[in-house]
């Protein structure tokens, strides 16, 4: 066993190795999972913990939301099963929204890593299951009990044997049993791979204990975070932001207090939980709040408990960002995503070079139908708005934020659903004008040519409150949904009869800085690229663009 203190050379090499192990686990799960969300959109995470349950490494492509919730989940698991009570081959599980990730489909699976008879750490993986029973993810679910089976923290596998009772309960409560077990097995196998790789790593470097390494990783990360926080001027920075629930407006409020090398985010003043499935358990709030701080301060440093130590987060119980049981939480992201721009706006005046104006975010739509042969069709459609602009950086068109999903190709969509995509176009003048322009939104029109009635369940947002511009930048355009040209409520379930056309106009990102300061050539290039119209160039930027020459002049 090496007794020498860990120097910077060893620390870097061994730290990266732990991250590599979590990356390999994540890859193994993506390869073996069934859920489309896991395979196509990487809706999963892997986090490694030390024996005290402090996070020390995470897979690079983990979902940001899960990175923030996993350390809390680990704490809940250890409160229920203290480390002395764990045996080799045990695997813990939970999908309780308040202990896990904020909604029921995400399953958290953790395995203690043994060295001899001693626990040296834990490996946790989280994936979004194909189904967890109940009424599925629907905005109209009135309470948590509609949202499927909830597993408290329990031993999924005990000393290597899958708990038969749990297996039976799961099998009796979910729709697509094979896929669900396929994904659960993928998690269990992934943590097993992780435990093996940690063992190989310890063999290779001749170490019997991860603790000195874990301590060094956490100390180094904490130091880096504290240095960044200390550079922010002390003070309390407040902002409020209106968002839409279903039909009502609701205020989110945040006060960010920077004091020396610490930062505190408090969401007091935020409106109450709602009777629809958009409520946010506090674990999810905490996760996106720390994600925002991370993006602003130390984006290139791997996440772990060290980076979280100087951050404290609070929200009054019962507000929509700290909803209590049994509030329904299936669509918690449609509110939770706004935490990131809210925190950014609080710090816009003190970190003008780092904040990002509001983004248009994205639309997730669940699409179901029963085919003429009786087979069920269930799929997702996804469409992204424009990114918010930053100092020196225009927002990119059609990119999701803060979530991350991949495009649904029109050819894949047409083949799978029989519905035709009439067009997908960039929407000129939807990006918020600014010295740096917000990303443009896009428009898609889907015609129900499938010959059967199709149900679409939409979690739409930013239809009343568009993406805000920062530091003089203007807002982007709001999102719109219509069937056959008539506007429809953005959150809810709609029936598309054969021949109906659903139109989605995605929101643009907010601009940054005074649009009158945008370079004339940049405006002319926007016109050439179709991001800004000739009329928009004049009205938003005071720039006249000659369509023949493409050249612009400012009045």
């Amino acid at each position: 066993m090496s007794k020498a203190p860990i120097d910077a050379v060893s620390l870097g090499i061994m730290w990266d190795r732990l991250i590599a192990i979590t990356d390999e686990i994540l890859t193994a799960i993506v390869r073996t999972a069934f859920s489309v969300g896991v395979r196509e959109a990487w809706d999963l995470a892997c986090v490694m913990f030390d024996a005290k349950g402090r996070s020390i490494a995470q897979a690079s492509l983990s979902m940001p939301a899960f990175i923030g919730t996993a350390p809390l989940t680990m704490r809940h698991m250890l409160a229920r099963y203290p480390v002395e009570s764990l045996k080799p081959g045990d695997v813990l599980v939970t999908n309780d929204p308040w202990l896990g990730t904020g909604h029921t489909p995400d399953i958290c699976v953790a395995r203690p890593v043994f060295r001899g008879d001693r626990v040296v750490g834990f490996v946790m993986t989280i994936t979004h299951l194909p189904d967890i029973g109940g009424a599925g993810l629907a905005i109209g679910n009135p309470d948590l009990y509609h949202e499927g089976l909830i597993l408290p923290v329990c031993k999924l596998v005990e000393a290597g044997t899958f708990n038969p009772l749990l297996r039976d309960i799961l099998a009796n409560n979910v729709r697509v049993v094979d896929e669900v077990f396929g994904d659960i097995d993928a998690n269990v196998a992934g943590t097993e791979v992780g435990a093996r790789l940690v063992g190989e790593f310890m063999d290779e470097y001749g170490i019997d204990d991860l603790q000195p390494l874990a301590d060094a990783i956490i100390a180094q990360s904490e130091g880096a975070m504290r240095r960044e926080l200390a550079a922010i001027p002390d003070g309390t920075y407040r902002r409020e932001m209106a968002i839409e629930t279903v039909t009502e407006a609701l205020d989110l409020a945040c006060a960010v207090t920077v004091e020396g090398d610490r930062i505190a985010l408090d969401f007091a003043g935020t409106g109450p939980a709602a009777p629809v499935a958009i409520n946010v358990p506090f674990c999810y709030t905490r996760s996106f709040a720390s994600y925002a701080v991370k993006c602003l301060t130390t984006p290139s440093i791997p996440n772990n408990d060290g980076t979280l130590l100087p951050i404290s987060i609070s929200a009054p119980e019962g507000c929509i960002l700290a909803a209590t049981k049994p509030s329904p939480t299936g669509g918690r992201h449609t509110v939770g995503w706004f935490i990131v721009p809210l925190v950014m706006s609080c710090l816009a005046d003190v970190l003008p070079g780092r904040v990002q104006a509001d983004s248009g975010m994205a639309t997730l739509m669940l699409v179901t139908a029963r085919r003429s042969d009786g087979r069920e069709m269930a799929t997702q459609y996804f469409l992204a708005g424009g990114l918010g602009a930053m100092d020196g950086h225009d927002g990119r068109a059609a990119v999701p934020f803060p979530t991350n999903n991949a495009v649904v190709p029109s050819e894949v969509w047409e083949r799978e659903t029989g519905m035709r995509v009439l067009y997908r176009r960039m929407l000129p003048d939807t990006g918020g004008p600014g010295r740096f322009r917000g990303g443009t939104g896009q428009e898609a029109a889907l015609v129900n040519t499938s010959g059967m009635p199709v149900d679409v369940s939409i979690f739409g947002l930013r239809t009343k409150f568009p993406a805000r511009g920062f530091l003089g930048g203007a807002p982007g355009a709001a999102r719109e949904f219509a069937i056959n040209g008539s506007a429809i409520p953005p959150k809810g379930r709609h029936a598309l009869a054969p021949g109906d056309t659903l139109t989605i106009r995605e929101a643009g990102g907010g601009g940054y800085g005074d649009p009158k300061l945008r370079a004339v050539e940049a405006v002319a290039a926007d016109v050439a690229a179709g991001a800004v119209s000739v009329a928009g160039a004049l009205s938003d930027y005071d720039v006249t663009v000659d369509p023949a020459t493409g050249l612009g002049t400012r009045a």
């Binding site: 090499i13 190795r17 097995d185 440093i301 991949a406 495009v407 050819e411 690229a529």
Partner: protein, 701 residues
């Protein structure tokens, strides 16, 4: 007239290898690359090569050529003035791209610009449905009219024709292409269904734009090359290396330039795989590390793993998702931002980071003395004694050890408060970890158990790091092949003619008729065989490998299933469920016997005869007969630090020679670093085979 020559143009050197298949004699040559006109180095180097071989250029029957021209044109955006014609409503597909962010924390994320600017894209009214039905007929007059108007406003040299669902039925694409040919007869045309007819419009169309963008330039280059070779007296056949590890005719290369991406590394992997075959090694890791990048690949059952997507012109060179996707058949390469020139720095965490930024060849590592002052991997390897200051590139370039140590001390050791040697070791070992990590992840994604395989290491820097990387991967054996410095050129001259075609055609397995499956493959094979026209390969000499992409109905993940050569018709259909289940289990460790299965895509790879069955080449040896050149101090932490280490001359080692590490084996382009306790043996082919000291051993950190 039977010498075969492989010519690989790299960033710094153009490598040549000539083989006399009768004697197995292999002659190599290196010539500085001529970036302004890469054919110049080819024309200048070929006579030198053949003079070394003692033969005439007219004795050369075949030249196989690999070029980075297409890749470079895409990276540097030096291509034709290219327009695009696409389905009404979809001109923005190139901008909408994949939507996804490839980095979760980088708010200033940037993406590559499409190759075709917005005003050069024309939309036309037409629509083919997902089953090939005509939803809206093509408006011919509108195509003609819009094309003429664009041509009046802007110069057009090439056109990409990209219609929705053309992968199912390309009638409209053919019609549009015919109109283009009539309106603009001098413009080169690329059609999406012809380039590679995969479903997914963004990727297929982007691939088509790459083909169109590079086609005129590649065509001019091949003209110059053919003329120049002809003037030298070359009267044999010229073939071009592709990214899938096979070669094509010049005509096929002109039609599909996008298939030439990354052909050099593909040839290197092909060489490693064939070497494995000769030596009876079925599964191996090919590890090639040079000045700026490392490439890896996995070989399973003597066949390199392949895939159908690669990325070009990345905004962040080694970040997956930051480039333009090319959907073509490629050898499944791992790319790592690690090479001799990789810059070492201290990252935001306060630990050592090496690469992906590189000092390149100019100013190069600090020890080159060409003005570079930042420490690189090569500086670390020199400080650790792995490289010799006096025998770099065979002694042609003296290295400055003092400058290397000074740079490492200043930039790494002092800020981290460690000594310079420790910092140098950190730089070296960081790269070992990076390479091992890349292999692990790649293998894990593909369900490849590397722990029982063999590594084949080549390139200028690969042999320095190979054994330490292998140790981390629990890979028990490393082969350092003879000819490692020109592996890609050798890979080229032993590559057969080969062409792969694909057709996306969704078929439910339970309704598939014997005649339909046979006809489906026969059509593909006919199409692929067209690529052999003008060669002397007879139809009866062609080898066909058929494959189907299949999935369980409702799943989004296809599995490629290779058809047994001896099965057809009803027997093949009967075998398909079992074949699919086996392949599925290979990936997912389970299968679902009762689920319905869909066929998604049909593939055929048609290959000509292998030019040679052996990789047992006779290299021209150096004059030295004394294998042991001397000793020098090199750093081996497992031995406690610097130890006097024997240095061997690779060219003077003979089959049967063996010794134990620590040792250094030098050749002109590289040095094999043999660790403490590792054993080395020269096999009967001249390859250096190293066995790891103990597969479960402990390495000092």
């Amino acid at each position: 007239m039977d010498w075969r020559v492989g010519i690989d143009i790299g960033g710094t050197f153009t490598d040549f290898a000539a083989l006399d298949p009768r004697s197995g004699r292999l002659v190599v040559h290196k010539q500085l690359t001529t970036p302004h006109d890469p054919s110049a180095a080819v024309i200048a180097g070929l006579p030198v090569l053949m003079q070394k071989a003692g033969a005439e250029i007219s004795d050369v029957g075949t030249i196989v050529h690999g070029t980075t021209l297409v890749t470079n044109a895409l990276i540097e955006r030096r291509g034709a003035k290219t327009a695009m014609i696409c389905t009404e409503g979809f001109a923005d597909v190139l901008d909408i791209a994949k939507e996804r962010r490839y980095d979760m924390y980088d708010l200033r994320i940037s993406y590559p610009e499409p190759l075709i600017e917005r005003p050069m894209r024309i939309e036309v009214s037409e629509r083919i449905g997902p089953s090939g039905e005509v939803v809206e007929t093509l408006d011919h007059d509108q195509v003609r009219d819009r094309l003429q108007r664009l041509a009046q406003a802007r110069e057009i040299e090439a056109i990409a024709v990209c219609l929705l669902n053309a992968y199912v039925d390309d009638t409209h694409e053919r019609d549009v292409a015919a109109i283009v040919a009539e309106v603009l007869p001098d413009v080169s045309i690329s059609r999406s269904a012809d380039i590679f007819p995969f479903m997914r419009e963004y990727e297929r169309w982007t691939t088509t734009t790459m083909n169109a963008f590079t086609q005129p330039m590649l065509s001019r280059y091949l003209d110059r090359l053919e003329t120049g070779l002809g003037e030298l007296g070359f009267a044999g056949g010229l073939f071009i290396m592709t990214s899938s590890g096979g070669t094509v005719t010049v005509e096929t290369a002109r039609r599909y330039p996008v298939r030439l991406l990354e052909s050099g590394p593909a040839a290197g992997v092909h060489f490693a795989a064939r070497l494995g075959e000769t030596s009876g090694i079925a599964d191996l890791l090919a590890y090639d590390m040079g000045g700026t990048t490392a490439k890896g690949a996995l070989v399973r059952d003597m066949t390199p793993l392949h895939r159908y997507e690669m990325e070009v012109a990345r905004v962040h060179e080694f970040k997956l998702g930051s480039g333009l996707p090319a959907k073509i058949p490629v050898i499944d390469l791992i790319e790592i931002g690690a090479g001799g020139g990789s810059l070492a720095e201290i990252d935001a965490r306060g630990v050592v980071k090496v690469g992906p930024r590189s000092a390149g060849a100019d100013p190069g590592p600090a020890c080159y003395g060409l003005g570079g002052s930042a420490p690189t991997l090569t500086d670390a390897n020199l400080s650790l004694g792995y490289l010799s200051a006096d025998f770099f590139l065979g002694g042609e370039m003296a290295l400055d050890g003092g400058a290397a140590t000074e740079a490492i001390g200043r930039e790494i050791a002092a800020p981290l408060d460690v000594d310079a040697l420790r910092a140098a070791w950190g730089i070296h070992e960081t790269i070992n970890e990076d390479v091992a990590r890349a292999f692990r992840n790649h293998a894990s994604e593909r369900g490849f158990d590397y722990r029982r395989s063999t590594m084949v290491a080549f390139g200028g820097s690969g042999p320095i790091h190979a054994l330490r990387v292998a140790h981390k991967l629990l890979v028990p054996r490393v082969v350092f092949p003879a000819g490692a410095g020109v592996a890609s050129a050798i890979g080229m001259l032993i590559s057969p003619l080969s062409f792969e075609v694909l057709r996306s055609d969704l078929v439910e397995l339970e309704g598939l008729q014997p005649a339909a499956i046979d006809q489906g493959f026969a059509n593909l094979v006919d199409e692929a065989a067209d690529a052999f026209s003008g060669t002397d390969v007879r139809r009866t000499d062609l080898t066909v490998v058929r494959a189907l992409d299949m999935r369980y109905r409702g799943q989004g993940y296809d599995i490629e299933v290779t058809m047994p050569a001896n099965l057809a018709g009803a027997a093949l259909i009967e075998a398909l469920p079992r074949l699919f289940a086996d392949a599925y289990e290979g990936v997912f460790s389970k299968s679902f016997p009762d689920r319905p299965i869909d066929i998604i895509a049909w593939k055929a790879t048609v290959s000509g005869p292998r030019p040679t069955d052996s990789t047992d080449f006779a290299f021209d040896r150096g004059a030295a007969d004394q294998a042991r050149k001397g000793v020098r101090a090199a750093y081996f932490p497992d031995a406690g630090g610097f130890v006097e280490t024997p240095v061997y001359d690779r060219l003077a080692l003979k089959p049967g020679d063996s010794f134990a590490g620590p040792a250094l084996v030098e050749e002109r382009e590289s040095t094999c670093v043999i660790g403490v306790g590792d054993r080395v043996e020269i096999d009967s082919h001249g390859n250096l085979i190293a066995s790891i000291a103990a597969a479960e051993g402990t390495l000092a950190a």
